[in-house]
Symmetry: C2
Subunit: 255 residues, 2 copies
């Protein structure tokens, strides 16, 4: 076991990870991390790729290939040292350092996010909660007070904030996004149902409840009939129809 550890030279890692890890793999690393943590909590010291894969809900070949992008951290005939691998993945993702996060838009969703226990953990620290509504400024949410949106720039710059979470209505999302980017934020998690346009160097990830539901609805519909609803009678099917009204409302507000 110790041999596997000390044999893994920094050199080997450089050669592998130097030129990036496939996106699909990056997206799965947090899942592996969670599975490893669960195993560690149960005092499991070693796990095979099969064990890990089933805990993470993926194919074992895929898991092995994913891990091979990080380095040679396993031991043939044995498996992976749970805590060691956990640390290596955490380091690769960047969880061995703290990340300052601001959340903009403290409505229902913003409250939920602010109270999310995963935030309160050491990896991601809430530098500020921001809202444009003056009557909300000063309100205490969890450990943090709500600040005014006007202070965004100062907070981001002095607090070295690199990640911003947008939980505003769709209408103000692009404006908030621009202000975040101007202040120096280069990674954005967007909960507003809008397409954000950002400069090249800024990463945006989107979480959209309505889209997820619609994808489920599509599959549900196919399960039921094996095909979509019948085509409407030719003519003017959409304008002013009930469906049109529903769709208008569907994308109206943020969460």
């Amino acid at each position: 076991m110790t041999s596997a550890r000390s044999r893994t030279s920094g050199r080997a890692r450089d050669e592998r990870a130097e030129r990036g890890i496939p996106e699909a793999t990056v997206a799965r690393l947090p899942i592996y991390l969670r599975a490893l943590t669960a195993l560690s909590d149960r005092d499991v010291a070693t796990a095979s790729s099969e064990d890990l894969a089933s805990a993470a809900g993926v194919n074992s070949a895929k898991l092995r290939k994913d891990l091979s992008y990080l380095g040679t951290y396993g031991t043939r005939g044995v498996g992976y040292d749970v805590n060691y691998l956990r640390y290596q993945i955490a380091r690769e993702i960047g969880l061995t350092q703290d990340w300052a996060v601001v959340i903009v838009g403290i409505g229902n969703l913003g409250h939920a996010l602010a109270n999310y226990s995963g935030f309160a953990s050491r990896g991601f620290q809430i530098a500020a909660l921001l809202d444009s509504d003056p009557s909300r400024v000063g309100e205490q949410v969890g450990d943090v007070q709500i600040s005014s949106l006007d202070d965004l720039d100062a907070i981001v710059r002095t607090g070295n904030v690199s990640i911003g979470v947008i939980a505003t209505p769709a209408g103000s999302a692009q404006d908030v996004c621009d202000r975040l980017v101007n202040a120096g934020v280069s990674s954005i998690l967007n909960f507003a149902p809008t397409v954000l346009s950002v400069p090249e160097h800024v990463d945006v990830r989107k979480v959209d409840l309505s889209i997820e539901l619609q994808i489920l609805a599509y599959h549900e519909q196919r399960k039921a009939h094996g095909a979509p609803a019948p085509v409407a009678a030719p003519g003017e099917p959409s304008v002013g129809s009930p469906v049109g009204a529903a769709l208008d409302e569907l994308s109206a507000g943020a969460m």
Copy 2:
């Protein structure tokens, strides 16, 4: 314009859409729908693939290919009739009918979801809000009262509920999932940070804030140094280290 409409026979659609639309395309249809709704609200009658693509934040070739899986709804030299295409996509996704949804776990996130205006729209109706905490049962959230988790089975069966949303802590997610599936729910949207195991015929989609943040952190780290943090000194890097503690907490609770 009218020609394009009437020329599109039901037969042509059958041949195309009969055997399924690629997953990647399905995931983008809701985005197109939103873009079309925005255009419709601005009284735009016709849009080119270029217009639509930029509104949706995708490549125009991709958009055209995506739409071609649904049928031949455009007109060469002109573009797409906004309202007509909007209706066709809505029908394809299944938004021309109502979907009954139950939300389980009415904590911070559950509240946010229950108040989400996208839910209140005609496409997705909240059949019930369920929580296991007896002191919460009866509480009014939006238009709906919280019911006891014990009533899950009855509510799902009588209400013809096919979609379930899990917003509970990770620990109870699998149990709730099993009960949903047993009661007849065949599509699940999971906000709890756990891998759910379900029978073949059930669809699960996962929304995980913590994972999204970690993916952002990975890219952020690479932007900063071009490579991950240095490898720890060989030895015992992880057990009992601050990082270990942070990671434990990270996946502890749901939102």
